[in-house]
């Protein structure tokens, strides 16, 4: 069972995340001014890039977990469970990236969706990690599942830098990076920049809380499976053989 300290950390993280998200919403919707060019639409900036950042982060953690499992010296099922937990949370945040992007796109570009390089590579990222999660559901033993999905997780991660660089490599409708651009000079200032920064921090806290929860569920499910398997083996061991039962 989980330790009291882990439970305590998770609870504190949850409360802090909730407060930070509430602050982001208040600042984003009511305190910050409308933009000269985008008007009220700029308020979506305080949630859209932060959820996209969390998706990148989540897939980064999936890759690290995958590498640590695939590397024999550090092989432990906990790395595989961490990778899978992070991928699931990442898929949620990628879906949010696509949803908020689409909501922003309709009034800004006139369409809900267009096959723009940034949008297409992000959609591909979503499908790749859905595939990763589907692959994990294929019935097999824990080790084989971990190896297969570890490789799949690493292959899927190749798309993350492509998504980020898509606005530089191709001519796209999507605007270029606001903060993490080539010159590392943010194109946003004052309270707008502060709110955006708060958005990044608050959604990172939400991710950490969700990851802790999802990882705990994964370890409990794995433990239940292990116990069930042990019991089945034990029962089999004590079962009378078919031949000897007939003889009696």
């Amino acid at each position: 069972m989980e330790s009291n300290r882990y439970k305590w950390v998770r609870r504190v993280l949850g409360v802090v995340a909730l407060l930070l998200v509430a602050a982001t919403v208040v600042l984003g919707l009511w305190v910050t001014p409308p933009d000269v060019v985008q008007g009220q639409l700029v308020r979506l900036i305080y949630v859209h890039p932060p959820v996209a950042w969390v998706a990148y982060l989540a897939y980064g953690v999936t890759s690290i977990g995958s590498i640590l499992y695939l590397w024999k010296r550090t092989r432990n099922i906990k790395w595989d469970l961490l990778a899978a937990s992070s991928a699931e949370v990442g898929v949620i945040f990628t879906a949010l990236t696509l949803i908020t992007g689409s909501i922003w796109g309709k009034p800004a570009w006139g369409v809900w969706w267009t096959w723009d390089a940034r949008l297409t590579t992000t959609a591909l990222l979503f499908v790749l990690y859905l595939g990763y999660l589907a692959l994990r559901r294929v019935p097999t033993d824990s080790h084989r599942r971990a190896v297969r999905s570890g490789i799949a997780g690493l292959v899927a991660f190749v798309d993350v830098p492509i998504v980020h660089q898509s606005v530089v490599w191709w001519r796209t409708l999507h605007q270029s990076a606001t903060v993490l651009n080539a010159t590392l000079s943010p194109k946003i200032h004052g309270e707008m920049a502060m709110t955006l920064l708060l958005g990044f921090i608050s959604f990172t806290f939400v991710y950490a809380w969700m990851l802790m929860h999802r990882y705990q569920i994964a370890t409990m499910e794995q433990r239940a499976l292990d116990v069930e398997l042990e019991q089945l083996i034990e029962e089999r061991q004590y079962e009378p053989e078919a031949g000897s039962a007939l003889a009696q």
């Binding site: 009220q40 979506l44 009034p107 939400v206 929860h213 569920i217 239940a224 004590y238």
Partner: protein, 48 residues
């Protein structure tokens, strides 16, 4: 505002709240499943 902004915030908060509730439910279910697994009875001798 213009409707789009509200829709964006509602979808983000709604999806995150929904997924959090799902996680809490799954966590409770997994805990119950772990407790429900019966402890194997100790058998003294295997049946010959």
């Amino acid at each position: 505002m213009n409707g789009y902004v509200e829709a964006g915030y509602i979808s983000v908060l709604g999806v995150l709240a929904g997924y959090s509730a799902l996680l809490l439910g799954r966590s409770r279910k997994a805990k119950k499943a772990l407790v429900r697994v019966p402890v194997a009875e100790k058998k003294s001798e295997p049946i010959e």
